[in-house]
């Protein structure tokens, strides 16, 4: 975790006198973000531009009109209650939603200024550049080596594959644990190791973004901690977007946080929407919307 000196600003934030501010849950979150900057990193350019992004599954509108800018070399967390559409939005970034046949996207989503849903965009190429780590570790039922090397191999990457494997596994902080058993099945590893293998596999294609869909939800606390540390290291080289149920996790690792919630219309239709998107510290200490505040103080969800 980055150890930043405690700044003046958030002391004043902590002294917020509203009754909810005294809630234990919110206090805990504040303690977590206490050492984080309020202003967030500056100078990072936009990598994903979302403008009125709306996703439908057949007639069902899963999430509506999301507008946000996600910046390079930052960790952006998407949080919110179940069914708020945070995973849906994440899966738009590498067009994974294409695999769900009824999924349809409105609005625009740009990647380095290029419309990701543009006519000439090949989703296969998108996924090579924008890697993904899933909720449950899903290594291929093949050797550790083959797991890592698969992406570069089919992508026709030049270079020494052995080097790519080693570098990727090192970056995923798994190399020392597996360097002597690269031929063993990836499924023989522990859950936390499997998830790091999946991260190594995603890194191996030299993406510039890593999408993580609740990567720690099936891991124990120690494995979770290792993945979180790993994310903070990977931030130097990659842009990371993470969906998490765990607000503490968002508070610990992310630079910016997007809070989603569910709108229930009169006829019972549930639609996700983006409520607030801000520097993590600010979102958790002085949310500007009451919905956010209710959520982080545990009054909702």
């Amino acid at each position: 975790m980055t150890q930043e000196p405690v700044t003046e600003e958030h002391r004043t934030v902590n002294a917020d006198p509203t009754p909810s501010a005294t809630d234990a849950a919110a206090d805990k979150l504040r303690d977590v973000v206490a050492d984080r900057e309020t202003e967030g990193p500056t100078g990072n350019s936009t990598i994903f531009g979302l403008r009125g992004l709306t996703v439908y599954y057949a007639d069902f509108r899963a999430v509506k009109e999301v507008t946000a800018d996600i910046r390079e070399n930052e960790i952006t967390a998407l949080i919110g209650p179940s069914g708020c559409g945070k995973s849906t939005v994440l899966r738009c970034f590498n067009r994974m939603n294409d695999l769900i046949e009824t999924a349809r996207v409105d609005g625009s989503l740009t990647y380095h200024g290029v419309d990701l849903y543009g006519k000439n965009v090949d989703p296969v190429e998108v996924r090579r550049r924008i890697g993904m780590v899933f909720q449950k570790p899903n290594p291929f039922p093949k050797s550790i080596y083959e797991n890592v090397v698969y992406g570069p191999k089919i992508g026709g990457m030049k270079g020494n594959l052995d080097d790519i494997v080693e570098e990727s596994l090192r970056k995923a902080v798994l190399w020392d644990e597996v360097k002597d058993k690269l031929d063993e099945s990836g499924l023989a590893l522990s859950g936390g190791q499997q998830q790091r293998l999946c991260i190594a596999r995603a890194i191996a294609t030299s993406p510039d973004v890593l999408l993580m869909d609740e990567p720690c939800s099936s891991l124990d606390p120690i494995a979770t901690l290792r993945i979180e540390e790993l994310m903070l290291e990977l931030k130097q080289d990659y842009t990371i977007v993470i969906v998490t149920h765990n607000m503490q996790q968002a508070a610990r690792v992310s630079d910016r946080t997007a809070f989603f919630t569910v709108d229930v219309s009169d006829d019972g239709q549930r639609t996700g929407k983006l409520v607030e998107f801000d520097v993590t510290n600010r979102l958790f200490t002085s949310p500007s919307k009451t919905e956010t505040e209710d959520y982080i103080t545990g009054r909702f969800g």
Binding site: P139, P141, G151
Partner: protein, 315 residues
Amino acid sequence: MAETTSTAPTTTDLVRGTLEGRRVNPVNTLVSGLLLIALLSSLLVLAVLLADVFGKGWGLLTERGADFLTTPLSPNAVDAGIFQGVMGSIALTAIVIVVAFPLGVAAAVYLEEYAPTNRLTQFITTNIRNLAGVPSIVYGLLGFSVFVNLFSGATGGRTVITGGLTLALLVLPIMIITTSEALRAVPTALREASMGVGATRWETIRHHVLPVALPAILTGSVLTVARAFGETAPLLLSGAVLSLYFAVPPEAGFVSLMTEQSYTALPMIIYNWARQPQEEFVALTSAAIIVLLAMLLIVNAAAIVARDHFERKST
């Protein structure tokens, strides 16, 4: 109750009495007994069938030995063999495998991995299920119209190719259905993992989905092929000869087996012999049935071996 506890039986005794008593419920025993009888009587039929066939045919089989397999057909029960039948059945099975396996797997891959959910796909799926229920003799008519008559130039008319193609069409829907089931059992997470690192659909299927599904596909396919191996009705119409002596002679070799218009198959021989009124044909038929069942057993055992082999390889 409370007052009586001080006297003879204690509460514990009474409770124990109600809980432990009447463990054996007569209705329960009767029902489960009847159900078990229902199940066992089907198995009894199987046992009687095998005992009957072995009782009638084993003597002849041991007496004639391998000779029975290598001797051609003959109207004289004494020296009749099943050579052409075994050869024809093997050739038919080979054609079924070559035609129905790739087509069945390809169709299943399309339906499970590519097909959009639309009316056409739905129509194809329903259609395949219905084709699987069409009586096999109707496939014989199809084989007769299409392969014997319409495309006789390509099939050579009433050849083993015609029979093989007819049987291939017969098992194709079953092949598609079993392969589809095998593909559906492959977790979505595996597909997502592969597509997530930038693999195309086909790369995902070839490198990950098919290898994982292969054991199940193979087992299902072999069972399906075994079904074709024992089929008789479609062959009645698609040109297999039903004769006590007339079929491709054993010395003719494999090529003429494929081109001659006089192939037969083991189940056809069994059918024909079973129709003969003479007593001596009963033993002959039974012996041929033993050979047929043994060959089916070998095919099924091969499936199990193949499945184990691939299961070990894929992990």
